[in-house]
């Protein structure tokens, strides 16, 4: 099977997966769910005619198979229906919420890698020293502590205690901009950054330890390989050995793990966005769920699944690009 055949196969599997997820999405909310989505937005005092008219507006009166076919075609054409709560298309709200989530998680992810990667490499090169022990301890600790607990401590300290001690909040406790928002664009950007700092920092603090530990362990593994001994024997500087040879060796698994960790970070951000009332898709998902606003929940869930699918695909494909052995394996 050639590369093209492999790609085709992956694409088909991905499409089938997406189809199954969309079906599952439909099933959970419109078949399994004992909850009546009309309960939250239809006044019980409505007459039958009024209720039916409203339900017809959302297409909820049609038989289940028609609804299913419509749902599948709509979802693949990026039409997620009308929110029960706001009565506007879900896509509109998604369009302004998605960038907020990307901003928060992008910052957090970049920060985590920027701190965790060098730390892990340094720890590996100073094996058994103080820095290494600290990384080890920090990494193990990061595996045990819930990120939302770190965020709560941040909130308690920077927003609430700071206010008592110094009379001002070091970081704001909620939202993405001050109310009222500054009109000047530069000030507006600064204001958003100020609000971004606490959720992003707390995500980085909760995440870099695990990363550093992971990279340290892989690096240590890589440093025992024969090609490193060869590189050292050639008289290359330790720096070159570490950052050009060993690092190149562990790059494929790093990229894979990075790609595979993105969905976890994104879905985990439901809690982050809830704590800091960040107007992203995670907090929207939660609000939609609690308010039985199912079009919103279905849309975000589908988006999450799509993201995971893409991340899985990218991880596999990038691995092939970065690791020639895998490419050869495919060609054969």
């Amino acid at each position: 099977m050639g590369l093209r055949g492999y790609l085709t196969k992956r694409a088909i599997v991905a499409l089938v997966t997406l189809f199954v997820i969309a079906t599952l999405n439909f099933m959970i909310f419109q078949v399994i769910s004992p909850l009546d989505p009309t309960r939250t937005f239809v006044d019980p005092k409505f007459t039958k005619a009024m209720r039916d008219a409203l339900l017809a507006q959302y297409g909820l009166l049609e038989p289940i198979q028609t609804r299913y076919i419509k749902y599948i075609t709509n979802i693949f054409t990026w039409n997620f229906g009308i929110s029960f709560a706001t009565m506007t298309p879900v896509v509109n709200e998604l369009a302004w919420r998605l960038p907020n989530t990307v901003l928060l998680l992008g910052t957090a992810l970049i920060g985590t890698v920027l701190v965790g990667l060098p730390l892990g490499m340094m720890a590996a090169s100073r094996r058994g020293k103080k820095l290494d022990m600290l990384t080890l301890a920090g990494g193990l600790f990061a595996n045990g502590v819930p990120v939302f607990f770190i965020q709560l401590i941040f909130l308690l300290f920077f927003s609430y205690y700071m206010f008592i001690w110094f009379g001002f909040q070091f970081f704001p406790s909620r939202g993405m901009v001050s109310i009222p928002a500054p009109t000047d664009p530069i000030r507006y950007a600064a204001d958003v950054l100020w609000h971004l700092a606490q959720p992003a920092l707390s995500l980085i603090v909760g995440g870099f330890g695990g990363w550093a530990l992971y990279i340290r362990n892989m690096m240590i593994d890589a440093l025992t390989q024969d090609y490193i001994t060869t590189a050292r024997a050639k008289g290359l500087s330790e720096r070159s050995v570490l950052y050009r040879h060993a690092f190149r060796g562990i790059l494929p698994p790093i990229v894979t793990i990075l790609a595979l960790s993105i969905p976890g970070i994104v879905t985990g951000a439901v809690i982050t966005e809830y704590i800091f009332t960040w107007p992203g898709i995670g907090s929207w998902y939660l609000a939609g769920l609690l308010g039985a606003d199912f079009p919103v929940v279905q849309a975000v869930f589908f988006l999450y699944a799509l993201l995971m699918l893409i991340a899985n695909l990218v991880a596999d494909l990038l691995y092939g690009v970065l690791d020639p052995r895998v490419r050869v394996g495919i060609r054969r």
Partner: protein, 483 residues
């Protein structure tokens, strides 16, 4: 199979297990993990004896967000009040001759007169000591009062608190009546009705009764005074009535309480913390056990059977790997109901994919090994080989995976509970954090509500992380050589 080989095998397994235990004993992190876990197990098993209160039953032990008792060692908190609960012991101060009274904890009064032109009056006092210089946030006075057998008389009654400055605050009044009265008033200083009855229309004057009573000097003796007044109908030959006042209590919720203070309902935080250990351990172990069992089952079947079954199972794994787990769990818990049993099952059912993949790849290698080949050659059945030859060989991976998926399950459950999707009937640490976050502990700077449950989750997870790390080092020889 001949018994000799079984015996040999048994010896090999025994040696393996002994070697494993020996390695574990030498591993410092592993021992630390075991010790931590033991602490939690003891806390979980002996929760009813270790915790001073039952967190489900006993609320209002002190004021909301009362700080930990030991914080009194700091000078700024040294005079914060503990909870005071006194039963009034009445002493009659003044009474008319027409009244016959027995007093003490319960007061029985008989009023009987033939001179209906004279009024009759009684004042009783009960004193209580408030030994702190910091005023409380709230006080509650409760009592049972029965005034009956009324003939030809009108009466009124009132309850007053007199502070040391001599100012009296009326907390209850019964307007003139000639009907039988049987009441059990609960006079709470934070009660809006009381504020209104005191004559304040300002809605912000919520604690006005408290600030009226507890004026400087705060420390000292306060008096609860009951005043009963009879006015017989004039011209009637006689007038009589009886009155009983009992169970009079003054409850002043403290601002400090116990080892870790109280939460927003005045529940003991320390007791909740101890009781949370049991449920978190149970959830973590059960969910991880379920995950690992499904993972082993699917992995072994898929790897050993191969073909169409393998293909189908692996596509299911592919799909499951694309499901966003936390949002899915939130949704399903929301749909099926917030029940701890569902939560365990859902965490288990959606957590086995990774393990199944790993085990499958191991089984693919084992399938080709010579001992499986010889088993096949000697006529062993498929399931016999899977159970007797394959499963024991993937045990190390399974154990390490089991131990490492416990913290993951604990953290997942904590996350669900924190978002308010936990079982409302079980006291979990996630729920404590949810309530701390949702009911204003942060505004009150009540760190004792927010930090202990978080640390409890962290160290329980860490116990398993440490053990998992140690097991990994032992069963994974490559890792062991490096260290």
């Amino acid at each position: 199979m001949s018994p000799i080989i079984t015996q040999e095998k048994r010896t090999i397994y025994r040696l393996k297990i002994e070697g494993f235990l020996e390695g574990f004993r030498r591993n410092r992190l592993g021992v630390l993990g075991i010790i931590l876990l033991l602490v939690y197990i003891i806390a979980g098993l002996f929760a009813p004896w270790l915790s001073p209160y039952d967190p489900q039953q006993s609320q209002l032990l002190a004021d909301a967000y009362a700080m930990p008792g030991w914080m009194k060692i700091f000078p700024q908190f040294s005079d914060y009040p503990n909870t005071i609960n006194v039963t009034a012991n009445w002493v009659v101060q003044q009474k008319t001759d027409s009244m016959a009274v027995e007093w003490g904890k319960t007061v029985n009064m008989v009023f009987n007169t033939t001179d209906t032109s004279e009024t009759a009056e009684m004042i009783m006092n009960a004193t209580f000591n408030y030994p702190y210089s910091v005023p409380p946030q709230r006080f509650v006075v409760t009592y049972d009062l029965l005034i009956g057998n009324i003939t030809n008389t009108w009466y009124y009654a009132e309850m007053v608190i007199v502070n040391q400055a001599g100012n009296s605050t009326r907390i209850w009044i019964l307007p003139f009546t000639d009907a039988t009265t049987e009441v059990s008033p609960i006079r709470d200083s934070s009660d809006a009705w009381l504020v209104k009855e005191l004559g304040y229309s300002d809605p912000k004057a919520v604690n006005v009764a408290r600030s009226h009573v507890f004026t400087a000097p705060v420390k000292g003796t306060y008096t609860l005074a009951f005043h009963l007044y009879f006015r017989p109908d004039e011209g009637t030959p006689f007038a009589s009535a009886t009155a009983t006042l009992g169970n009079a209590q003054v409850w002043i919720p403290g601002l400090v309480h116990g080892i870790l203070g109280t939460d927003f309902l005045g529940t003991d935080v320390f007791s909740q913390l101890i009781h949370g250990a049991k449920i978190s351990l149970a959830i973590g172990l059960l969910a991880a056990g379920l995950e690992t069992s499904i993972g082993i089952l699917i992995g072994v079947i898929s790897g050993y059977t191969g073909g169409l079954v393998d293909e189908a199972l692996m596509r299911i794994v592919d799909i499951l790997l694309c499901l966003p787990v936390l949002p899915l769990l939130l949704t399903l818990v929301f749909v099926f109901g917030k029940n701890v049993f569902y939560i365990v099952i859902l965490i288990g059912v959606f957590g086995w994919q990774g393990l199944a993949r790993t085990i499958r790849s191991q089984v693919l290698v084992l399938r080709e090994s010579s001992f499986v080949e010889s088993a096949v050659a000697s006529g062993a059945g498929k399931y016999y080989i899977m159970i007797r030859h394959i499963v024991p060989n993937i045990f190390p991976i399974a154990i390490s995976s089991l131990v490492l998926s416990v913290p993951a399950a604990i953290l997942t459950e904590a996350g669900l509970s924190f978002l308010g999707f936990g079982d409302p009937r079980t006291p979990t640490w996630g729920k404590m954090l949810n309530q701390a976050f949702g009911f204003g502990a942060f505004e009150k700077l009540a760190w004792w509500v927010a930090i202990p449950p978080g640390l409890a989750i962290t160290f329980l997870s860490l116990a398993f992380v440490f053990m998992g790390y140690a097991i990994d080092e032992i069963v994974n020889p490559r890792l062991r050589r490096r260290r």
